[in-house]
């Protein structure tokens, strides 16, 4: 049911099926979906596969107890920030201190007052929403709304790892506005900002859904092109370059803005290369494009076949 998909998921980890049933019945009118797990081991698998918005965690369970589950959740960057409410029959302060020190957000003793448990769950879900909002904000560039430099660094390393692991094509384009300083100096910073915003828009429009467009810094943008070899990437870059050249600027219709683009890409048989080395190569091509008169695309094809062809 699509409506269910939008609701946040709360995962109950408790070794007692009678507790599962009780909370399922008592929380069924709440604005979340309650999933259940009978053991710590099973729960960790579920949490990593699909992180819930909040976890209700029993302490006393055979084999892996609640403290061990808590430690494992806080050790994993994927699950580290999920709010955790400990639900325990023990109300000694020693257990509470341990739970909070291990990273629990809240501690409720069983048998618990249901109105209170519901309120605590709502508070935990609020915290989860705020943390997600914060994480999203931290990855967005304020001026252009594109992914920022930090997000680029993260996504680019991920994509290069995938390239090495799955042998799928990958390309990286670095796009830089030509003579941007002149625009800023001649027409003022608001005009410069407008150029950056409009460039960001065109880059987004011309890219495909899977491409990741980032503001790398200043007037420089990066486009990660998954599943795209250097030939295809060059076509896309040329299209972007042409589209940007066509823009008529309301603040300075007399002067067009052009971009230079440096590209490095490889098909499935690319070399073992670090994300940094790959980025350097794209950047070097950008420098070459600037040096050869700007408003152009320079590409390196790192595929082994192409290198052999060149060597032969």
């Amino acid at each position: 049911m699509p409506q269910e998909d939008c609701k946040p998921v709360v995962l109950l980890i408790d070794d007692s099926i009678i507790v599962h049933r009780l909370l399922q019945a008592r929380l069924k009118h709440e604005n979340f979906v309650l999933n259940t797990s009978l053991s710590g081991k099973d729960a960790l698998e579920k949490v990593i596969a699909k992180p819930p918005a909040t976890i209700l965690l029993d302490l006393e369970m055979p084999e892996m107890d609640g403290f061990e589950v808590l430690r494992a959740l806080k050790d994993n960057p994927v699950t580290l920030n999920i709010p955790i409410i400990v639900l325990s029959g023990r109300d000694g302060s020693e257990d509470k201190v341990t739970a909070f020190d291990l990273g629990a957000n809240d501690y409720v003793t069983k048998p618990c007052d249901l109105a209170e448990l519901r309120a605590r769950l709502r508070a935990a879900l609020r915290l989860d929403r705020l943390l997600k909002l914060l994480a999203d904000r931290a990855e967005v560039d304020g001026l252009t709304g594109l992914a920022n430099r930090a997000a680029f660094d993260k996504r680019w390393s991920e994509k290069v790892s995938e390239f090495h692991r799955y042998k799928t094509p990958l390309s990286l384009a670095m796009v830089d506005a030509d003579h941007f300083k002149r625009i800023n100096d001649t027409y003022g910073h608001p005009a410069g900002d407008e150029v950056l915003q409009r460039l960001a828009q065109v880059l987004q429009q011309q890219s495909r859904a899977a491409d990741i467009v980032c503001r790398y810094g200043g007037e420089e943008f990066a486009i990660i092109l998954p599943n795209t070899g250097p030939q295809e990437a060059t076509l896309l870059a040329e299209r972007i370059r042409t589209e940007i050249g066509k823009i008529v600027w309301p603040r300075h219709p007399e002067s067009a803005v052009t971009v230079s683009i440096g590209l490095a890409g490889a098909n499935a048989d690319g070399p073992v290369i670090s994300p940094e080395q790959w980025l350097e190569l794209s950047d070097r091509n950008l420098y070459l494009a600037k040096n050869q008169g700007r408003n152009r695309v320079m590409t390196s094809d790192m595929s082994s076949q192409s290198r052999l062809a060149k060597a032969g």
Binding site: D15, R26, E60, P62
Partner: protein
């Protein structure tokens, strides 16, 4: 409502405080239906000296008793849990007969629960 056949002591059935709550009727039914099995587990674990299992069952009943509308059951289970805890942690000088009486008291209550 016919009396529970396990209820040999002739004591009246204990009805759940939430018996008329539509959200609860189904799960109270299951709770009561599964009770004979739970009692058997409790007794056989005790007889075979598996005190950890007794403790776990008592712990679950303590946590759930009140929630299912049987607070006296939850309290009896809580007493048993804490006594077995003492027994497990320090078996010297713990009065086994006293704990057995608590277990019997819990079983007696368990036998009387009704949906």
């Amino acid at each position: 409502m016919p009396s529970d056949p396990n209820n040999t002591a002739g004591q009246p059935n204990i009805r759940s405080e939430f018996a008329s709550d539509p959200d609860m009727q189904e799960i109270i039914g299951l709770f009561v239906q599964e009770m004979p099995e739970r009692i058997a587990q409790l007794q056989s674990s005790w007889t075979s000296g598996e005190f950890d299992a007794v403790k776990r069952l008592a712990h679950q009943l303590k946590g759930a008793g009140g929630g299912y509308g049987f607070p006296t059951l939850g309290q009896a289970a809580g007493k048993l849990e804490s006594s077995v805890n003492t027994l497990v942690n320090n078996s010297h000088g713990t009065e086994l007969n006293g704990i057995k009486a608590q277990l019997d008291a819990l079983v007696e209550l368990c036998n009387r629960v009704a949906a």
